[in-house]
């Protein structure tokens, strides 16, 4: 939470775009001590609705999701946690190269979002994408193999940490350039409008990004296109308070990021990212509006980045106090305790879920380690989707034309000449 001064409790007023922050009424700073029973009941209101909703203690349990769903969330969160911790370890052991950004602290956000997304929907994310790939069902083994740069990786080892992709699962990419995924995601939503009209079964696009992305031109151009063309897309901003080391306040003229769609009359909401059910419900409402009314929306999710920007970032810009505070804000132990307190899980069942994750990730590491590296014959296979004459296949130091080229028969070049 380093440097973050915006407070969800403050953000009650709606802006011109219908922005609201009611679902995040429990401050991320105070929520761990606040009794959960005051949580708002989130009963599928239309995105952008202004009404404040009240809940009763009796209904609060369903607001956190049914038992099966909550166990599912926990299972997903634990898998991401274990995966990311082992990925960090594999990075320090040089099994993983390049940049490596972890979802540590964002687990409830990730599983909540992915629970809202249908198989028929499309997902675009930024580079902090491992958790999304796991929760989207790409398989810990193939995701780890991608991190290892192996041929069984989800992108055949050609993409790495920032570029998880599975066309079949409709995860159309993690993207490493900040904001780069927004225009293509918007265009994917445009393509959906040619497939059929709006309706409850229509497909939609979810485009995830970080808080820092809301300052780049691609964000604003994309939102504007989605608004004027009425595209079925939900833009999800994961606000962990920091773009690398730059705070939201220092980077954004409107630090209440869910309001930044107001210029495009796009409804926005701010949600507590530690509550996976709240995240799911809010995302589902916005996706429903996208499907049924072609109403694009912005969902800002208040989350935590427990570590540095990437594996190699020691986050020295955080004070000792902030680091201590962060430890207390870790959403996983809190969610576990909540499930046990609510009688959904007992200690033994929780341990079993954790053991399952440990073994799944251990298997994934073994799978990745055993997967072959892409061979040199693969180097030029994916530059073009269609074969093209004279596509360069030169290795460093190769002559520009093969020896003996001048003794070969000439072919096509004179076919159309004037003589």
């Amino acid at each position: 939470m380093a440097g973050r001064t915006q407070d969800p409790q403050r953000d009650q007023a709606a802006t011109g775009g219908g922005a609201r922050a009611d679902d995040a009424k429990t401050s991320t700073r105070t929520k761990k001590s606040a009794p959960r029973t005051t949580g708002a009941r989130r009963k599928a209101p239309a995105a952008g609705a202004q009404a404040r909703r009240t809940g009763s203690a009796a209904k609060a349990a369903s607001a956190r999701g049914d038992a099966e769903a909550r166990i599912g969330y926990y299972r997903g969160m634990v898998l991401i946690r274990e995966f990311e911790q082992r990925a960090g370890e594999m990075y320090t052991r040089a099994k993983i190269g390049g940049y490596c950004h972890l979802n540590l602290g964002e687990e409830p956000t990730v599983v909540g979002l992915m629970a809202a997304l249908r198989e028929t929907d499309y997902l675009f994310t930024n580079y902090r994408d491992h958790g999304y790939a796991l929760a989207r069902g790409l398989g810990a083994d193939r995701v780890m193999a991608e991190l290892f740069g192996r041929s069984d990786g989800v992108s055949k080892g050609l993409g790495g940490s920032m570029h998880m992709f599975d066309a079949g699962k409709r995860m159309l990419g993690g993207y490493g350039i900040v904001g780069g995924q927004l225009p293509p995601a918007t265009g994917a939503a445009l393509a959906l409008t040619y497939r059929g009209g709006p309706g409850p079964d229509a497909e939609a696009v979810m485009c995830q990004m970080g808080d820092g992305t809301t300052n780049i031109g691609a964000f604003h151009e994309s939102l504007n296109l989605a608004a004027i063309w009425k595209l079925p897309i939900v833009y999800v901003i994961i606000n962990n308070g920091l773009g690398m080391a730059t705070t939201v306040e220092n980077a954004s003229g409107e630090p209440d990021l869910y309001k930044r769609g107001s210029s495009y009359r796009m409804p926005g909401r701010r949600i507590d990212g530690d509550d996976p059910e709240a995240v799911r419900q809010a995302a589902e409402e916005m996706l429903t509006a996208a499907r049924e009314k072609r109403q694009p929306g912005i969902l800002e999710i208040m989350s935590h980045r427990l570590r540095g920007h990437s594996v190699v970032d020691p986050a020295r810009y955080r004070t000792k106090e902030e680091v201590e505070e962060l430890k207390k804000l870790d959403p996983l132990p809190a969610y576990r305790a909540e499930l046990i307190a609510d009688g959904i899980l007992d200690e033994k069942q929780a341990e079993q879920i954790e053991a399952d994750a440990v073994s799944e990730v251990a298997n994934a590491i073994a799978f990745a380690d055993a997967s072959p590296e892409p061979g040199p014959e693969k180097l030029f296979d994916y530059t073009y989707a269609t074969d093209v004459p004279n596509a360069p296949r030169l290795m460093p130091g190769d002559p520009v034309l093969p020896a003996g080229w001048d003794r070969a028969e000439e072919d096509h070049a004179y076919a159309g000449s004037e003589a």
Binding site: T186, A191, D381, Y384, S417
Partner: protein, 338 residues
């Protein structure tokens, strides 16, 4: 296609050829959509899309806001889902606003994700100076894109090629930048009837000759052809190689021509340093060194932000006179007997 040059009644403009290709592909394939600024109601800044809005409707001929990064990127995403968007960028100068989407996304998505999803899109955009549009609106930036693996870059010099190349670009599964040229839009030439699809990655010899090879593309290939005809009258046999495809580059056709002529001059509208001519010259010196009788020469633009004033604009840009002068210098240096 120039073989039909005698069929004069089939002559149409380069502009019309592009229009016809778009219209035919829109009719043939409903996944082809057009995106760009002022392409609908205004019918295109250079009128390539005239009449298309009325014929195909606002969903397939989609006017965009002034947001190149947004709409070029949107075309990428639409292409990933199976559409075949053709984007018009009003001039290549404005493509710089979209360069992250073109270079970091369109060119990378197929390869970076292991060949899972092609990006079948076309960017049509004109380059070229000489219209007194001053420094920011007169550039030839195609080399920026010709440098990028994953992109295909085509540069037609005739109406027939314009039509065949745009058709090929739309039907291809990779992102293609089709370089048009402001000063070619009104030029006329024969265009054969029927379905003609250009081949990527092939240069062609548009005028055969034996004394000097002149390499060009787009407007410079048209000038080279004109110069070849003029100098033929003086007893100089020029072979013109029209690159057609800037990426991939057909190095063999260039070198094969030099193997025959022993001399080479490159004409390019772009600035000299690091230009396409530099790549051609390097290719020739390596691929055809043993056949060269003289150093490869380049005729390119003066390296300044192009001035508005006609007097300065004119002398800064390469033209037929400059090409003729350099050809003659090269012939004289090698004691060519006329």
């Amino acid at each position: 296609m120039t073989a039909m040059a005698d069929n004069a009644q089939n002559e149409i403009t380069y502009r019309q050829a592009l229009h016809d290709a778009l219209r035919e592909e829109m009719t043939r394939d409903e996944n082809v959509i057009l995106l760009g600024e002022e392409i609908g109601i205004f019918e295109g800044s250079y009128k390539i899309t005239a009449g298309m809005l009325a014929e195909f409707g606002p969903e397939r001929v989609r006017d965009t806001p002034i947001a190149e990064e947004g709409f070029v990127g949107a075309a990428i995403g639409a292409a990933m889902l199976g559409m075949r968007p053709v984007v018009e960028i009003m001039t290549i100068n404005f493509s710089l606003i979209a360069i992250d989407q073109i270079v970091n996304h369109a060119a990378k998505i197929y390869g970076m994700f292991g060949g899972q999803t092609p990006v079948p899109m076309v960017i049509r955009t004109p380059g070229g100076g000489g219209q007194q549009l001053a420094a920011t609106h007169s550039q030839n930036l195609e080399v920026w894109y010709a440098h990028i693996p994953g992109l295909k870059v085509l540069a037609p010099s005739t109406p027939a090629d314009a039509k065949a190349m745009l058709t090929a670009a739309i039907r291809d599964d990779d992102p293609v930048l089709l370089l048009e040229n402001l000063s070619l839009y009104n030029t006329k030439g024969p265009v054969p009837e029927g379905d003609h699809v250009a081949e990527f990655g092939r240069a062609k010899v548009t005028v055969p000759g034996t004394d000097v090879t002149v390499v060009g593309y787009s407007r410079s290939a048209a000038i080279a052809k004109d110069v070849a005809h003029r100098m033929a009258a003086q007893g100089v046999s020029i072979e013109v190689v029209d690159l057609c495809s800037l990426r991939p580059l057909d190095r063999e056709t260039i070198c094969r021509s030099v193997m025959k002529t022993g001399r080479a001059v490159v004409l390019e509208d772009d600035w000299l340093t690091y230009g396409i001519g530099a790549e051609i010259a390097a290719t020739i010196q390596e691929g055809a060194f043993d056949y060269l009788d003289a150093p490869v020469r380049r005729v390119a633009a003066a390296e300044v932000p192009l001035p508005y004033a006609k007097s300065l604009e004119k002398i800064a840009l390469p033209d037929a006179d400059a090409l003729i002068r350099v050809i003659n210098e090269q012939l004289d240096a090698t004691r060519f007997a006329r």
